[in-house]
Symmetry: C2
Subunit: 264 residues, 2 copies
DNA sequence: CGTTATTACTGGCCTGACCAGTAAGCTCAC
DNA sequence: GTGAGCTTACTGGTCAGGCCAGTAATAACG
């Protein structure tokens, strides 16, 4: 008879968590990832060559390469054939975030409504914060993008859209919050990616562009005046009017909720 | 003399975009990715074995494996050693998004202030939307988490914190926006990860937990009443009071801006 | 008929090799 | 001397083939 009965021995001891087998290539990824996060490896610096890494990690080249491919697909490093300096550490880019968010949209049935709702929240908040925190330089940067938009009306939607994005980017920068900046950028990209073909045709009219310009000017006015609430409200409503057409009517509830927020 | 002068031949023709060399493994990743996005491969289904993929793609095993490792790190498939059915197509998970957003926080020197500011925006918006959109079931789900919080006070901070998270999760779900849900989850995790040690000691007092509980109850009341503005305002102020101590005084401006928003 | 052992696969990992690039350093004509 | 061109010693990209440990369907067994 065993002194320790089966199934009971560990039932009230330490808590264990599930473990997954860790592959060799994952260990390598972790180490390099950590080195980058810690700052031991800075953008522009080079990793040792694959063959050198093989000896340092004590793994075979295919294994090291699997790790490098993962890091590369995550946007952390870049390998160039023939480069005698080895793989390069890349500066941070939101490309990976964009990829994942795009995937979220394509996959998880994230509806256009949710996307635009999120955009309204982010852009509204950015405008609100910008109204309170903007410096004079940032304010004039916004004014410049508005001027460019104005001139771009006759050059067609392509140019106009670029200036439009530049304005929102300037507002996001003035909000002094890089999370807002990056997320807004990503969501904007996802929205545009999903409807770019339609929007190019629908909005390629001077009248619509002039209206959009007027809306942007209103937002800018509110930001200049330091009126965060107004900036957010106008910004949200503008986005709603611009994009509501791409959302099925029965899904517009959440969007309207955001527009009507802060109203009388 | 050449009939086509150098450097001018293409200067006013079609526009070309920069190209990057495409590796074999990337082509494989793309094909499988596309098949999943198109729905040709559904979660639970299996990919052919590596050796079978080798013949189908006409590439070598290391190359096929590099592709699989990338897909695996993206959370699209999972390979299990010895599984005769081949790699499994996984259901969508926000793990990839979480990973990338965590990277953004670690990498891009996102400050505590930005993190909390973003959290206030997301949580406030979630509360606001939940106030308008919540179903009865979702409301009672929130009530249950509040009840758990109340009971957890005497069990210590660990338990209390879990129930706290559950409440915010319930609110996020009721906001009907999975982007808010995921982003909020990530940011919350990042914040807690940065201060968990400090907060465990500082907040492990029944008095502080009771105060936190009261705040949560206020938010719940506003959501029950359908008052989106109040829900957002209370939610934001609660977060500010809870976390402001971890932000250097000279960086609290943006946070206060969000609290004072919608006041007066 | 249920249980156990077999077997034919799976993925994880390695060795060794070939090729096409790159860039530093060398050569050589000017 | 100095610049243009060539050599060379690397780099990463890809392949072929092999060994091992693990899995699960199946065959053999009680």
């Amino acid at each position: 008879m065993d002194h320790v009965r089966r199934g009971e021995a560990l039932s009230d001891g330490a808590q264990f968590r599930q473990v997954a087998p860790v592959r060799l290539y994952q260990r390598i990824v972790e180490q390099i990832e950590q080195a980058i996060v810690r700052g031991d490896l800075k953008p522009g610096q080079r990793l040792p060559s694959e063959r050198e890494l093989v000896t340092q990690f004590g793994a075979s080249r295919p294994t090291v390469r699997e790790a490098l491919r993962v890091l590369e697909s995550d946007g952390l490093v870049r390998s160039r054939p023939g480069d005698p300096n080895g793989p390069e550490i890349l500066p941070y880019s939101s490309a990976g975030l964009t990829k994942q968010m795009t995937r979220l949209v394509q996959f998880d049935n994230v509806s256009m409504a949710e996307l635009i709702s999120f955009r309204m929240i982010l852009d509204g908040s950015a405008s609100s914060l910008a109204a309170r925190l903007r410096s004079e330089e940032e304010l004039s940067a916004m004014e410049r993008t508005i001027a460019v938009m104005s001139e771009a009306i006759e050059k067609g939607y392509e140019e106009f859209s670029k200036a439009d994005v530049a304005f929102h980017e300037a507002v996001a920068v003035a909000s002094r919050n890089s999370l807002i900046e990056v997320c807004n950028q990503v969501v904007r990209g996802a929205v545009l990616g999903l409807i770019s073909d339609k929007v190019a045709h629908a909005h390629n009219s001077a009248a619509l562009m002039r209206e959009s310009l007027r809306h942007h000017q209103e937002v800018l006015e509110a930001i200049r005046a330091g009126d965060g609430q107004a900036a957010a409200r106008i910004s949200r409503r503008k986005l709603y009017e611009y994009y509501a057409g791409y959302v099925p009517e029965n899904e517009r509830g959440p969007l309207l909720a955001l527009v009507e927020d802060e109203e009388g």
